[in-house]
Each structure stands twice: as C-alpha cells, then as structure tokens.
Amino acid sequence: MAIIKRFLIIFLCVVSFSLAFAGTVSAASVLYNDTIEMGNGYQINNYVIDVTDVFVDANSVSFYVYHRDKEVKDILISRGDSFEFDIDDGGKVKVILNSVVGSVIPRASVSIVLTDYDFRDLHKNELVQGGHRSATFAGTPELKIIKSVDEESINVGDIVRVRVTVENVGDDRATEVLFNEPQQPRFILYDTLVSDPGKTTMDIGESKTPFVYELKATDEGTFELAPTTATFTNDAGQRFPQAASNSPTIIVGPSESLVSADLEFITTFDKHTVSRNERITGTMLIKNEGTAPATGVTVNIIVPDGMRFEGGSGVEQISGVPTIYQETFGIQQQREFSFVLRPTEVGTYTVSTQHSYSFDNGVDQDLQQVSSDDVSRNIRVTEGKYDYLFEQPLYVYLIPLLIIGAVIGWIYYRHKQYKF
C-alpha cells in the first residue's frame, strides 16, 4: 500500500512539474467565454478580433481580425460555427460563436481558445471597447548602438575621441533605456564631453548620442574597445535582450610625446673661508632644462650645527629648516635664491641641500617624482677678529663696566647735586 502511495505522489509531482515548466502549452486553453457587444473586439497581443456586425435574425455574426491596423481576416459565421487564425510564434486562435443575443446593442456569445502558444508571451488578452481602432499595440523596439572613434591608429599619450550613437530601428518605443559604458583598460578617461543620459526613452526611429568622451592611451598594442550595452523595454513593459554596440579597434603605437622636467640645482657660496660670526651668502640657482614644467619644487637647506641661518630671499623656515618652495617651475625657467648663514663655531663645514619636484610626463596618470641631494664644498670657519674678546675672563668686562657705571653714577649724582 505504502509503496503504491509513494509512487503515486512521485508521479503527480512529475506531472505537475512538467505542466508548470513546459516551454509551450500544446493543450488548448480558453481565453474568453462570454458575450462581446457589436462594435467591440477582443485583443490577443497585437491581434484584435472585432465583432463587426451581429445579425440577430440570421443568428450569424461578422468578425474582422486585425493585426495592428491591418486586416488579416473577415468572416461571417452562424451560431455553432467557428473560425481560426494564426498569431505570431505559431499560436492558433479559434473563435466559436455560441449564440447571438438580441438587445439594445446585440451581442455575440463566443469562446476564444488559444493553442500552441507560450503563455509568458501573452502580454495582452482582453476585451477592447471600440474594437481594433481603440486598441493599443505593443511592438519590438530595437536599439542599434554604434561606437566610433575618430582615429584608429594613435601613439601612447595621444587622445582618441569615442562617440557612441544609438538609433531605435524597432517598431516600438523603447522605454526604461539604460546604457552601460564599460571602462576601457589601457586607456584613461581624459575628458568627458557628453555624459550618460541616465534612464531615458527612445521613440521609433529616434537617434541619440549618449556618450562622447576622450581616452588617452597609456600602453602600446592593439586594443578593442569594450562595447556599450543598453537595456530597455517596449511600451508594453516587455523586456528585451540587451543591445550591444560594436567594438572598434585601436592600434596604439609607441609614444612620441613623453616629456619630463629636468631641474638643475646649483649651490654656490660667496666665500669658503670666513671668520666666525662673519656672514656668508649662499646662492641656489634652479634651472629647468627639461621639456615639461615642474611642480612642487622644494629645496631644503640643511644648515650644519655651528652655523646659523640668518635669512634669505625666497627662503622660508619650515619647521626649522630653511626651505625654498616653488609651486611651478616652467620650461627653461631659471631662478636664483640667496640665503645668509652665520657660522658661530670654528670648524670645517659643508652645507647639504635636498631637492625634490614632480612633473607630468604627459602620458602617465600620476605625476613623476624626482628627488636628489647635494653637498657643498667645504667652508672653513676661522677665529673672528675680535673673538679673543669673548675668551677673556668675566672680570675683564666687569671691571670696565663697573667703572663706567660708577662714572655714570657719579656724574648723575653731581648733576643732581647741581641741578636747581
């Protein structure tokens, strides 16, 4: 018993499964079984069955069948008779006139049966007041997307302009149109001239240019641009497979336009032997010998212990380090900065400088960083002329100071004494 019962359940499952998922329904199904007033019609997708005339006395009805606006069949049948016509994708519609009902507006009682049709494609299945003239039809929009480039053969660093146009070559309006423009590897987006319109609609025959942009080639080679795709629906809300554009090919040759900034930093001092506390003037000459302007030019002057930075033109102290900073430095530009150092201790010194700058090589997206450093010739600091003064013991100063103080005090005292 139990075995039979289980078998039965499996069998029923299989049957219902195949009923639910079978691609086409070969079995007939009744779409409509009721009366239709004369002058009205019944729409199945883009087909309309108009009840044109009802002859109550003759128990007959005249039917006209339209595909959109085009008549495909006209027939007069009597009660109990039927007629058939084909719709798209192999579907067959059978209309049976069951009876004729006489009233103010006479009606035909019909059964409409559809066979051999995938019901998922049945987007319209209803009565239409007024017949085919009042029916709305759904069509198939078709988007033709063309991606074009202004040049097919360029060099690294060059710019190519990409234009995407689209035309609705279908027979219905495209709605909910969404474009997808993929990123292009090996290129960088240089400029966007026309940007994604977002969700849009396209009438039959309408053209649009949803994207115009410029790409800069970064690598050599032959590359296919990834296609532009679009998703859309027709007026009736039916989805269609996404449309895709062509993939133009671009051949990128080796770069001709790679540029670079080339800065030269030359430090000189007005003398290399100084006595203590005497000032020396350093000059930093910066020249751009390259083919591109430099940006963020920074020079740090590393003043050794035993020397003091006393100031300079265009030299600023940034967290204690004398620094020259230039936002930009043009091609062939040349500038001089001077700074004053004062040695406070006897000895031999060098002054080092750290330089850095960046530039745009015209190809890469990122700026190129350059840094270098330099060490000056030796600077010898000798005893100052009056240095021995500072090496005397304190009393040497104190005594004259005391004497001067006493003299001033005495003069003041006398002045007071004689001041009337």
Binding site: W410, R414, H415, Q417, Y418, K419
Partner: protein, 368 residues
C-alpha cells in the same frame, strides 16, 4: 681750619658767588664739577639768595642746596623798598637757611649796591647776623657803571648808607666802572670782573688759612679792616713772566690792580700785603723796601709770605681807605640823580599832561 660763610645776594651776588665756586674747582672747564673737587683750604659754605629764580638757575658751580629762592615775581625791579619788604616777610626763612650751616669764624656777603634785591637784602642780613653771632661780617659791594641810570646810582648811595648802619665789619668795594677796561660784551665783561673778584677772594681765604712766614691771620685781617672809614678794596697782581717781586707789588697797588680806584699812597689807612711764590723769587730785600715804602705813606702794613715752589710771584693787598674821592664823586652824581628822579616824579604827578589831553574831549560824542 677756618669756617667761612659766603653769601651772594641778587643777580650780581649770585654770579660772583658762582664764579668763586668755579674758581675753587681750579680747572677752567665748565664740566669741572663732574671730575674735580673744590680746593677750599677752609670749610667754606656758600649760599646764594635771590628773588629771581632765573638768576639762581643760571648758576653752574653752586650746589642746588646752596641756592635759596625767595619767591617774588622776577626780582624786585631795582626797588629797594620792595626788596626790604620782601626780606622782612622772609626773614626767618632766610636766617634759618644760614643758621643750618653751622658756626663760622668769618662771613662775606656779596652784592651789587645798585640792584633791588641784593642791595636791600644785604644790609638787613648783615644786621641780623651781627645781632645773632659774634663772627665778623664783611660786605663785598659792587658799584654800578656810572651811566647805568639814575635809579641804580640812587640805590647805590642808599645801599652804602644802609650798609654802614647795619653794623658791618667792613665794606670791600669793587667798581664796575673802573673794571670796564675789561672790554668785550657786557656778559664777558661781567664774567671777567666776577672771575677777578673770585680769584682775589679765594687767594685771601687761602692765605688766611695758610702757614705763612710772617704771620698774617684772621686777626690781622680784622685789624686792617677796622681801620679807616670802614671802606676797603683789594689789589692783586699775578706775574705771568718771571718778574721781580718788587714790580709785582707795585702792580698790585697800581690802579690796574685795584678793584676800586684809589690813590693808595694818599687814601689808604691800613694795609695787608700777602706775597706768594717760589722761595727763589721772593727777595726779602725787595719786599721789605716796597712794604716800607707803603707803610711810610699809610701807617701799619701787615705782610705775609707764602712759599709755593715753582710759582711765579703773586701779590694781594687789602687796603682800608681813610677817604675815597671816587666814592665822593659817586655820591655827588647820586645826589643829582636823586634830585632828578624826584623832580620828574613831581612833574608827572602835578601836570598829568596826558590826562589834560584827554579832558579836551570831555562831554563830546564822536560823529560819523
């Protein structure tokens, strides 16, 4: 060591006092007070008194505490009567200022005879001093230029009389008129005169407090000053080249050496001669001859000799006068001046000429 008080009254007295203080610094620089000390041998106290604060302010070598201002506008305008009033009103204050300085052996009061303040204050101060103290008080009085005006001459005459009555122990005269030969402008002439007076007085003070070969001291000075008519003057000569001491003595007694013009041999009654210099240069013979020469004419002559190695001869002579023809001349001019002043005053009082002119339009109105 002697305690000496020097009081300078009025502008003239103040300025001479300042000259003395300057001379005491020895150096000629106006900054001497900042690096030098005064070289008084004795304990010398100086006091400057004036009604005019500007005169006091202009003093350079006298200590501020030595300057006593008696507020009365700007001086008393050569009016001795006003001066006497102001003194009376400030007597206690002035006398206290003197008293504060301690006790003295001798006092000199310096003034002009012809101004308002000094000439009126001085006799009154002397009178107060003589009443209160025992020490001798001598007045050094400067006579005006004769052409300075009738008011000054009048003041001089009355001042000298008041001075005699004050009980002063002697009046040493200095005459601006006689010293006019100094030349230069008024300012430098005054300074020259003041320096001369200062140098003589300092020399005298120095001598009175020095060891001398032949004794002259304060006692001798008193004796000399008490002789004659109570009027004295000082003669001085300082050799600039190596000259015989005889010549120096003669020059000191000659008109150019004296502060007040007088014929020494005829008018002097007592004298004191102090000779200073290098021992080699002071020939006793010469000195004796000259002193004898003088004493044969005048009477007693005190002499003192101070030996200072390396110094050229310097001679100071203090002479009291029996008579002073120059002073008589001054008085006779003064009498004329007094008469003249009185007549003018009366004339102005009676006639009031200007008033009469105004009275011509009495009761009239201007018509336009």
């Amino acid at each position: 060591m002697l305690n000496i008080l020097i009081v300078g009254n009025g502008q003239c007295g103040n300025r001479i006092l300042d000259a003395i203080n300057k001379e005491a610094f020895g150096k000629k620089s106006r900054f001497a007070k900042f690096y030098s000390q005064q070289k008084y041998k004795s304990n010398v106290q100086t006091i400057a008194i004036n009604t005019a604060v500007n005169d006091l302010r202009e003093m350079k070598f006298t200590k501020a505490k030595d300057r006593v201002h008696i507020p009365h506008l700007h001086g008393v305008g050569a009016n001795r009567n006003v001066g006497k009033h102001v003194f009376e009103d400030n007597k206690t204050h002035i006398m206290r200022k003197i008293e504060e300085r301690g006790d003295f052996d001798v006092c000199f009061v310096i003034t002009s005879a012809s101004g308002g303040t000094g000439s009126s204050f001085t006799p009154m101060i002397i009178q107060e001093l003589k009443e209160k103290y025992d020490f001798p008080v001598y007045a050094l009085v400067v006579l005006p230029f004769r052409e300075e005006g009738t008011l000054y001459l009048q003041n001089a005459a009355f001042c000298l009389r008041d001075m005699r009555e004050s009980g002063v122990d002697g009046i040493i005269l200095a005459d601006n008129q006689f010293l006019k030969q100094m030349g230069g402008n008024v300012e430098s002439a005054y300074n020259g005169i003041n320096d001369m007076i200062a140098r003589r007085l300092l020399f005298l003070l120095d001598a009175l407090d020095s060891e001398m070969m032949m004794v002259t001291d304060l006692g001798d000075f008193k004796t000399v000053m008490s002789g004659g008519a109570g009027i004295a003057t000082i003669g001085f000569y300082e050799a600039e080249t190596d000259i015989p001491v005889r010549t120096a003595i003669q020059k000191a007694l000659s008109p150019s050496g004296l502060l007040f013009s007088s014929n020494v041999h005829e008018e002097a009654s007592r004298a004191m001669i102090i000779i200073r210099g290098d021992r080699e240069r002071l020939s006793i013979d010469e000195i004796s001859t000259e002193v004898e020469n003088l004493s044969s004419a005048v009477g007693h002559v005190f002499k003192g000799i101070i030996v200072r190695n390396g110094e050229l001869p310097q001679v100071l002579a203090v002479l009291t006068l029996e008579s002073a023809s120059e002073l008589e001349t001054l008085y006779s001019i003064a009498v004329d001046a007094i008469k003249h002043e009185r007549e003018k005053k009366e004339r102005v009082a009676s006639e009031k000429e200007v008033d009469r002119a105004f009275s011509k339009i009495d009761g009239m109105d201007p018509s336009y």
